[in-house]
């Protein structure tokens, strides 16, 4: 006997970027990967991380693939696009963090513009999740990539009026970020859409935990968001989701520790790549639509996983 569930809800489709290289995510009509019960017209996509300043605390394995471009965000972005075949670029404005670089919006605007102009694939621009600082920086960043229909994040409860308004004003999408809480995710979506941003221009950032660092909490919340979207037809949860995987995975102790320090743990690169790929694949099963990742080999493994899943059911 075949038992199939029918769902009332549907995830909205959201398109990032313009023209031929625009990427559309979402559109699912079933729970994640339940392709026997509904359609998933758009595959999960992978964005590679680019930083506006040279990272200081990355383990060797993460540095190696980008060693020649870490000083130059434009070259870095192009390498991700051309060599590692990223679907999107996620530009992290780490240098605006008040406790490290504390650069302001005017300082980083030219970098955002240069990267946006250089790449063909869609752009995601992320601040440092410091609500006050992002409120100053993100409107400048949004302005600098005006006309690219980028994804601007994170939008926090404390700064949604400024950051989401900037996304609205400069014709981008917004990524509201909530602290692993279904209700707060929903509340932020209500507030942002009440501001005038169409729900089709909202991508939920539910907070990402790496494997061993809260992945299961993150998974549960995403699962609950999808259940609400599908079974309760809850409009304010029917948006695609984005997960910041790279930055979470590559700060884990199990990933950062070198083989010399822990010989029993084996090769550090393999360990990091697997850690990232495992986190990513778990989150795909939870319903993630945009995976922001770091290591090209982890990206490759994740792509194989996506192909296997979608190929097998085609």
């Amino acid at each position: 006997m075949e038992v199939k569930e029918t769902y009332n809800g549907k995830i909205r489709e959201a398109t990032i970027g313009l023209g031929d290289t625009a990427v559309t995510v979402g559109g699912e009509t079933s729970l994640p990967l339940y392709m026997f019960e509904g359609a998933a017209p758009n595959k999960p996509v992978i964005a590679l991380e680019v930083y506006d300043t040279k990272p200081e605390d990355w383990p060797e394995a993460a540095i190696a693939p980008y060693a020649d471009v870490l000083d130059d965000p434009v070259k870095w972005a192009l390498k991700c696009q051309d060599e590692y075949k990223a679907d999107m670029i996620c530009l992290n404005l780490a240098s605006t963090n008040p406790s490290t670089g504390d650069r302001n919006g005017a300082d980083i605007a030219p970098i955002v513009k240069a990267v946006a102009d250089a790449i063909k694939i869609p752009l995601i621009v992320y601040g440092t999740a410091n609500a006050d600082k992002d409120a100053e920086v993100m409107p400048k960043a949004a302005e600098a990539c005006q006309g690219k229909r980028a994804l601007i994040g994170p939008v926090e409860e404390e700064n949604y009026k400024t950051v989401a308004a900037a996304a609205l004003g400069f014709d981008h999408l917004a990524a509201p970020h909530s602290p692993i809480d279904v209700n707060i995710a929903k509340q932020l979506n209500i507030l942002i859409t009440q501001l005038g941003l169409a729900p089709e221009r909202v991508i939920i950032d539910p907070t990402t935990g790496a494997l061993g660092y809260g992945l299961e909490y993150c998974y549960s919340v995403m699962e609950r968001l999808r259940l609400a979207a599908m079974t309760q037809n809850d409009s304010m949860t029917q948006m695609p989701m984005i997960n910041q995987i790279g930055r979470e995975v590559w700060k884990a102790k199990e990933v950062k520790t070198s083989e010399a320090d822990e010989p029993a743990w084996g090769d550090a690169e393999t360990r990091g790549v697997l850690w990232e790929a495992l986190t990513a694949t778990a989150l795909i099963m939870a319903g993630s639509n945009i995976l922001v990742m770091r290591h090209p080999k982890a990206v490759e493994l994740t792509r194989q996983f996506v192909a296997a899943l979608t190929g097998a059911t085609n």
Partner: protein, 640 residues
């Protein structure tokens, strides 16, 4: 030990306290009641006083602005007495008097009227647990040589007392004379418990017709008392007063904390007994009676109040797993508790259910008729705690949640109780953002009370002054919204408006406290419904109890998502259900038994570790709620 005299104005009362004691302690000693929501920890900033003359040591606190500090304002709890002092207690710090209840019509739902109360009294057969019987006996002879007590027992049997009759020693001692003085006509005072009838007093002749019982609702904030005529069933006098324990903290938790200080528990008992004695004095004066007329006392209160009144240590009520000493209590001698009543008068504490579900609620639901009705009712009493009961004649489930003091004006910068000068109604113009306010008694505004806060929140939300998260929009084209010393704020009254002598503002922190309070209450309601798998629509009757409920504008409370969005014809207000239950107990053994049976059959859900409650709480931290479908009548959406 060095002591100093502290004189409080305008009351002109004096206390002598040891060097280094706090001004608040001195005020309590002088019986000057100072508002101290937090119980004297320096947290609430409510015990503002002005030291006029004398030397003090005071701690700096952000609760007193520099401007006020320059005028001499200090917090009484943070100020030590180091010389003789003159202290002025300003109006906002005084306890005030309980404004008289008005028969003002409610705008949403149905109020239980005086006529209906009288009608429900008519339906009760007079059969008091403590009653006086006028007995006529045949005198003994050599042939009929039964003892006095056998004769008395026979006469009581004829009067309908069928329980085994026991004589208290004091009654025995007076039997011989009492029987013979008026030729075998005596008045017996009998306490009728289910298992026995205790004769507590014997008086010669017919003394009936003057017996009254004292019914009291021992509230955390207010104590209300009634003298009940045990022949007519009706109240002959009623009065209310603030519970003097308020000086030791506004809510039950701070009272429990206070009780753990050296001498704290005894002090709290003394204060509530003083309050009851004062109420009793006023009642007896009003009814032109003496303490001898009072044959019994029936006290309903929450479990903490019952513990404190009876001298039981409440410590474990606030420690997991939250276990009270008892939920049913024996009769106790009123005089032993310190009540100014005759030595034979006993007090019956009405039964409770759990640490945070007390006799006040049990009494209230019986008064509302819920345990005997087929209709599904939801009963809610909101104060510093929200207590609620769902059920009918088949089942009763209950729970409670901490709402915090916001609804009673605590934890809010300019919050106050609903006494004269409290802003109780607010309108906000959606185009100019200008407020219109109404105060209790029409006096100049000195603060804002719970119902005013709810009004303000609903109006600010509807006018677009705050968003659904309660954040104030400081970019509006008005001076009313602004960044104040403690963040964004909205000015309900500027100094000068309606005679206000200071700006009265609502801050974002105040709004957060209110949101948390309303979210806890609503989440608890949803957990209760969910526990028996019924939806809001299945509820036939929605009862709102308590004085806060009485003054609440239900339509506004629905707008902010405090009360469920039910049609007006399902709303019923029953006023002081607790007092009503004590009144019923005083006149009817059957009602008293029904209250006891109800307490015994109520199921209590503890929410402290309930995941659904936590989830529902976060969902309710939004205006009106994250799930807008629960509030179809509330208009939401962006405003330009």
């Amino acid at each position: 030990m060095k002591t100093h005299k502290v004189t409080f104005y305008p009351d002109n009362r004096v206390a002598e306290v040891a060097d280094g004691e706090s001004v608040l302690t001195a005020a309590i000693a002088a019986e000057v009641h100072i508002t101290a929501t937090c119980g004297g920890d320096g947290d609430c900033g409510k015990c503002r006083v002005i030291v006029d003359d004398g030397a003090i040591v005071t701690k700096q606190t952000p609760k007193v602005s520099d401007e006020d500090a320059a005028k001499g304002y200090v917090l009484a709890c943070l100020t030590s007495v180091t010389s003789d002092l003159k202290v002025l207690v300003p109006p906002e710090t005084r306890l005030g008097i309980v404004p008289e209840e008005t028969e003002e019509a409610v705008t949403y739902g149905k109020m239980m009227t005086a006529a209906e109360e009288a009608e429900s009294l008519d339906a009760i057969t007079l059969d008091p647990p403590v009653a006086q019987f006028f007995l006529t006996m045949t005198p003994p002879t050599l042939d009929d040589n039964a003892s006095d007590t056998v004769r008395l027992t026979r006469a009581l049997r004829q009067a309908g007392v069928d329980e085994p009759v026991i004589f208290k020693p004091a009654a025995l001692k007076e039997a011989a004379v009492a029987c013979r003085q008026e030729e075998w006509q005596v008045t017996a005072t009998v306490r009728r418990d289910p298992e026995q009838a205790l004769v507590t007093m014997l008086q010669p002749g017919d003394q009936t017709g003057r017996a009254v019982a004292l019914a009291i609702d021992v509230g955390t904030t207010t104590v209300v008392g009634k003298l009940i005529d045990l022949d007519t069933k009706e109240a002959v006098a009623e009065t209310s007063a603030y519970n003097r324990q308020i000086s030791c903290g506004e809510d039950v938790i701070s009272r429990i904390v206070y009780s753990q200080r050296p001498g704290g528990q005894a002090r709290l008992r003394e204060l509530v007994v003083d309050t009851i004695n004062e109420a009793l004095r006023r009642l007896l004066t009003a009814a032109d009676m003496t303490q001898d007329n009072v044959v019994a006392v029936y006290a309903a209160g929450n479990t903490i109040m019952q513990h404190l009144l009876l001298g039981l240590n409440p410590k474990y009520l606030r420690e997991e797993p939250y276990i009270p000493t008892a939920t049913t209590f024996p009769w106790v001698r009123a005089r032993e508790l310190g009540l100014k009543l005759g030595p034979r008068t006993n007090l019956y504490p009405l039964p409770c259910v759990a640490s945070y579900l007390g006799a006040d609620i049990v009494a209230g639901i019986v008064a509302a008729g819920i345990p005997t009705s087929e209709k599904l009712s939801l009963y809610i009493d909101v104060g510093t705690n929200g207590e609620m009961v769902l059920g009918n004649n088949e089942y009763l489930v209950s729970c409670s949640c901490s709402a915090g003091p916001a609804f009673e004006g605590g934890g809010v910068k300019y919050g106050m109780r609903a006494t004269f000068g409290a802003i109780e109604e607010v309108l906000v113009d959606p185009t100019t953002y200008e407020p219109t306010i109404k105060t209790v008694g029409g006096k100049r505004p000195i603060g804002i009370c719970g119902s005013g806060l709810i009004d303000a929140l609903a109006e600010m939300f509807e006018a677009g002054v705050i968003d659904a998260k309660g954040k104030i929009n400081v970019d509006l084209p008005t001076d009313r919204t602004r960044i104040g010393p403690s963040g964004p704020e909205y000015a309900l009254a500027a100094a000068g408006d309606n005679g206000a002598d200071r700006d009265i503002v609502i801050t974002e922190a105040d709004i957060d406290n209110l949101l948390r309070a309303k979210a806890a209450v609503f989440a608890a309601v949803m957990v209760l419904l969910d526990s028996v798998s019924v939806s809001l629509q299945d509820v036939d009757r929605f009862y709102i109890a308590g004085s806060f409920g009485r003054h609440l504008d239900a339509a506004r409370a629905i707008t902010i998502g405090l009360l469920p969005d039910l049609p007006t014809d399902k709303f019923y207000y029953i006023g002081n259900g607790s007092l009503w239950g004590a009144h019923n107990s005083a006149i009817s053994r059957e009602k008293r038994a029904e209250i006891a049976a109800t307490a015994a059959r109520m199921t209590y859900l503890d929410l402290s570790t309930n995941n659904k409650f936590m989830d529902g709480y976060v969902a309710a931290l939004f205006l009106p709620h994250t799930d807008a479908t629960l509030f179809p009548s509330v208009k939401t959406g962006a405003r330009a």
